[in-house]
Symmetry: C2
Subunit: 240 residues, 2 copies
DNA sequence: CACTCTATCTCGGCT
DNA sequence: AGCCGAGGTAGAGTG
């Protein structure tokens, strides 16, 4: 780890460059302006901020508010530091799509280069995959007699989460969501049902069921209009 | 600004608490485990990481890779630090939805409290709003004779981006996207068109046009199947 | 507070 | 490299 408080431009640059070389996270605290140009374009006037440069090429500029950075570059970018007109300038670029970020420090108050190695594989539960497994484990959560046949069954409109049959032999398509859903989820299910309707030969009864903890009013009306169904199931049995 | 290198638990706690009091961003570098429980649940084994606690209640835990934090809490949470079994523990909570984050530091290598005040209003161009303004400014970008009437016109299925008439007096609904679109955008437009189709009295011709720089193959086929149209326009005239 | 939709969404998986 | 969908999406705007 390297740190510097109230460094000169050269000292801050040294922290930045030795940090990059060693694969450290480099963090600069100071007053800076930020310019971005690429998929969109943005400009940010001077203020005290925190810049985070990661060894995988990601860059984040954080202000005192918000969970999201005010400016950033994704992993895979190449960044470089330079001293320009007495200012520390950090530039980050990538191609495809072409975009670049320019951070100009009028003043650097503190610089840190830190070796942030260690496990970064977080295990998450309560996901859509958990909901899927729960239903495959106990299909009666949907309805008595429901039989899952395939997961991720392909259709011209995309892959259906769970494809199966009901006790009367009708084809059933499930679209799973881990949380309360709005109109977009209904449309998604509808796309799959429409696509399968064309694919399956006529006469086959086809049901589409949206499976989620709950739906909004508008989504419910939309389901009705499209002749689709809803079944309330949560990713975790504890949430019921 | 306050900084401490290789602080004791008490020293790190002091940086944390005086930082919170003064409305500073507090950053801790060290080896920690992270537990989250709320909308989902997650667990992260020990490793060297960076914790960022903002005065608005946001918390971020960053590893050496990725643009996104491995764990976080949104703004509005209350966080507190404590010394437990010789470890510095940071806990962050909120209600609605109930969720909490627990970060346990086996070791703190560096602590910073920084006053990150300053302008945080970034001006962005190339957004959907820019695309809308561009079309309102020159409706012929859609087609000769197109006349915008209302933006954000409400329908039972949601608000239409631009509602207008073509040169033959037909109702035209535009759905705008700032970048290349897939099937979801087609479904969205279709929802609005279907809803308006019921609302407008019979006999009125109704056209739906998806406006974006480009569409994917699947989206194009879906447009065709739904009897919808596409017009290529970018948010910025320079992108064409 | 809940609903709806945009986003430089990011991220992973697959083709 | 592009397409597609999930996400503890976050954030903004509105009712």
């Amino acid at each position: 780890m390297h740190t510097r408080t109230q460094p000169t431009v050269e000292e801050a640059l040294a922290v930045l460059e030795t940090g990059f070389e060693r694969g450290y996270i480099v963090v600069l605290f100071g007053r800076c302006r930020v310019e971005y140009d690429g998929r969109a374009a943005s400009s940010l006037a001077a203020g005290n901020r925190m810049l985070i440069a990661k060894p995988d090429g990601a860059i984040l500029v954080h202000t005192e508010t918000g969970q999201q950075p005010v400016n950033w570059q994704p992993p895979g970018c190449t960044h470089e530091g330079a001293s320009t007109n007495g200012e520390l300038v950090v530039r980050s670029k990538r191609e495809t799509p072409a975009e670049q970020l320019l951070v100009q420090f009028e003043r650097v108050d503190h610089a840190v280069a830190y070796d942030a190695t260690g496990a970064n594989d977080v295990t998450v539960t309560g996901t859509e995959a958990d909901l899927r497994d729960r239903i495959l484990d106990d299909p009666s959560l949907i309805e008595p007699g429901f039989e899952p046949r395939v997961t991720e069954r392909e259709t011209p409109a995309g892959a259906v989460d769970i494809y199966g049959k009901d006790e009367d032999g009708n084809v059933v398509v499930l679209e799973l969501k881990r949380r309360r859903v709005g109109p977009d989820a209904v449309s998604q299910l509808n796309r799959y049902v429409s696509a399968l309707d064309q694919e399956l030969h006529a006469g086959t009864e086809l049901r589409g069921i949206l499976v989620a903890p709950s739906v909004t009013d508008r989504a419910e009306r939309l389901l009705e209009k499209r002749g689709l169904e809803f079944m309330s199931v949560s990713p975790s049995s504890e949430d019921e």
